[in-house]
C-alpha cells in the first residue's frame, strides 16, 4: 500500500475540514480527488505533503510517518506558485536539483524544449499558463512515489491542458501514484483509474472510473453533478 489514512481528522477552530478519513491507495494509479469548493481537497493534499498536520488520526506514505523521509518521495504541485518571479527557468531547475535527489534535469530540459520554453527565460516575463507549465514540469521531473497535483489544469488553455495530462500519463511509473485534485472532471476523466468524492470533509465515494460507468451508465462528471447538485 502506498498510502494509508487511519481516522484522520482536521479541524480549523471547531470546523471539521476532514472528518474521520479512512483511505488506502495503491501504487501505479492515477486518482482523481474530486469535490466542490470547501470539501477538503486541498487540506487532504497539504496533510500528505506535510504542510499541515492532522488534528487526530494517523497516516503513512510507503509505511513512513509524514516527515523528511516522506518529503523525499512526495512531489507536490501546490495550487499557487511559490517560485520567485525573478528566477530564470534554469535557476528553478537548479533550485529543484539542490532540494531533491530524485530530480532529473535532463527530463525537465527535454519537456521544456518540447514546449518551446527557453531555460534562460525569466518567470516574470511568462504568461500565467506558461509559468504553470514550468511548475508542473519541475514536479513531474522528480522520480517520486507519490505526486500530489492540486488543481494542475485550472489556469491553462485546453491545448495546454491536453499537454499537461499527456505529461502526467507519460511520466508516472507503476511504482508511483498520482493524486489529482480538480473540479474540471470531464477534462481529466479519461486519464483516471480511480476517483474519490469528498463532501464536507467526508469521503462519499471511492471507486474506479470503469465501475462508475458500468454501474451507472454515465460519466463521472454526470455522477458528480448528481451527487453534488445544489
Amino acid at each position: 500500500m502506498l498510502l494509508e489514512f487511519n481516522k484522520v481528522c482536521k479541524y480549523y477552530g471547531n470546523k471539521a475540514a476532514l472528518n474521520n478519513i479512512d483511505l488506502q491507495l495503491e501504487r501505479g494509479k492515477i486518482i482523481g480527488l474530486l469535490g466542490p469548493n470547501g470539501s477538503g481537497k486541498t487540506t487532504l493534499i497539504k496533510i500528505l505533503s506535510g504542510i499541515l498536520t492532522p488534528s487526530s488520526g494517523d497516516l503513512k506514505i510507503s509505511g513512513k510517518n509524514i516527515g523528511i523521509e516522506t518529503k523525499k518521495i512526495v512531489s507536490y504541485l501546490p495550487e499557487k506558485t511559490y517560485l520567485s518571479d525573478w528566477m530564470t527557468v534554469q535557476q528553478t531547475l537548479n533550485f529543484f536539483k539542490d532540494f531533491y535527489e530524485d530530480f532529473s534535469i535532463e527530463t525537465a530540459l527535454d519537456m521544456l524544449q518540447r514546449l518551446n520554453i527557453q531555460p534562460s527565460e525569466k518567470l516574470r516575463t511568462m504568461s500565467k499558463g506558461t509559468r504553470e507549465k514550468v511548475q508542473l514540469i519541475l514536479v513531474m521531473s522528480r522520480n517520486a512515489e507519490l505526486y500530489l497535483l492540486d488543481e494542475p489544469i485550472g489556469g491553462v488553455d485546453p491545448a495546454a491542458r491536453d499537454y499537461i495530462l499527456k505529461t502526467i500519463i507519460s511520466n508516472f511509473n507503476e511504482n508511483a501514484s498520482v493524486l489529482i485534485s480538480t473540479h474540471l472532471i470531464s477534462d481529466v476523466e479519461n486519464v483516471l483509474d480511480d476517483v474519490i468524492f469528498l463532501k464536507y470533509g467526508n469521503i462519499v465515494l471511492h471507486s474506479t472510473v470503469d465501475e462508475i460507468r458500468e454501474q451507472n451508465g454515465k460519466s463521472v462528471d454526470a455522477l458528480f453533478r448528481e451527487v453534488f447538485a445544489c
Partner: protein, 120 residues
C-alpha cells in the same frame, strides 16, 4: 489512429471496440506491429492502465499476440480476422433488426425492404 470516446461506457471497452473495427476494416493488417502501451495511451490520451486492460483483453480473444522481446502484433491468423468481421457484421444486423422491429417490421419484412433498397 484517431480516438473518439463517449462518456457513458468504460474507456477500455471503447478502445477494444475501436481496435476491433480497425482490424476488421483492414486499417491494421495481419501481423502489423502496434505501438507500445505507453505510446498508445499517450496518443489516445488515456491512462496506460486502461490501455493495458484493453490490449490484454484483445490478446485473450486472440486478436493480438505478444512477442516477448519485440512487442505486440495483430494476429496472423486470417480466420480470426474473418470471424471478427462476421461478428461485427452480426452486431450491425442485430441492431438493424431490433430498430426495424420497433418500427413494426418482422425480420422477413425488413429483409425484403433491404432488397428493395439495394435495387434503387
Amino acid at each position: 489512429m484517431p480516438w473518439n470516446f463517449n462518456s457513458n461506457t468504460p474507456i477500455y471497452m471503447q478502445i477494444i471496440e475501436q481496435i476491433k473495427l480497425s482490424i476488421a476494416v483492414g486499417e491494421y493488417k495481419a501481423g502489423d506491429k502496434i505501438l507500445s502501451v505507453r505510446e498508445l495511451a499517450a496518443e489516445a490520451e488515456v491512462n496506460p492502465n486502461t490501455m493495458q486492460k484493453a490490449l490484454s483483453e484483445l490478446e485473450r480473444d486472440g486478436l493480438l499476440y505478444t512477442q516477448r522481446t519485440s512487442g505486440r502484433f495483430i494476429t496472423n491468423d486470417p480466420k480470426t480476422i474473418e470471424d471478427l468481421r462476421k461478428q461485427l457484421a452480426n452486431e450491425q444486423i442485430e441492431n438493424f433488426i431490433s430498430k426495424m422491429k420497433l418500427l413494426g417490421y418482422s425480420p422477413e419484412e425488413a429483409a425484403e425492404l433491404m432488397k428493395m433498397y439495394n435495387k434503387k
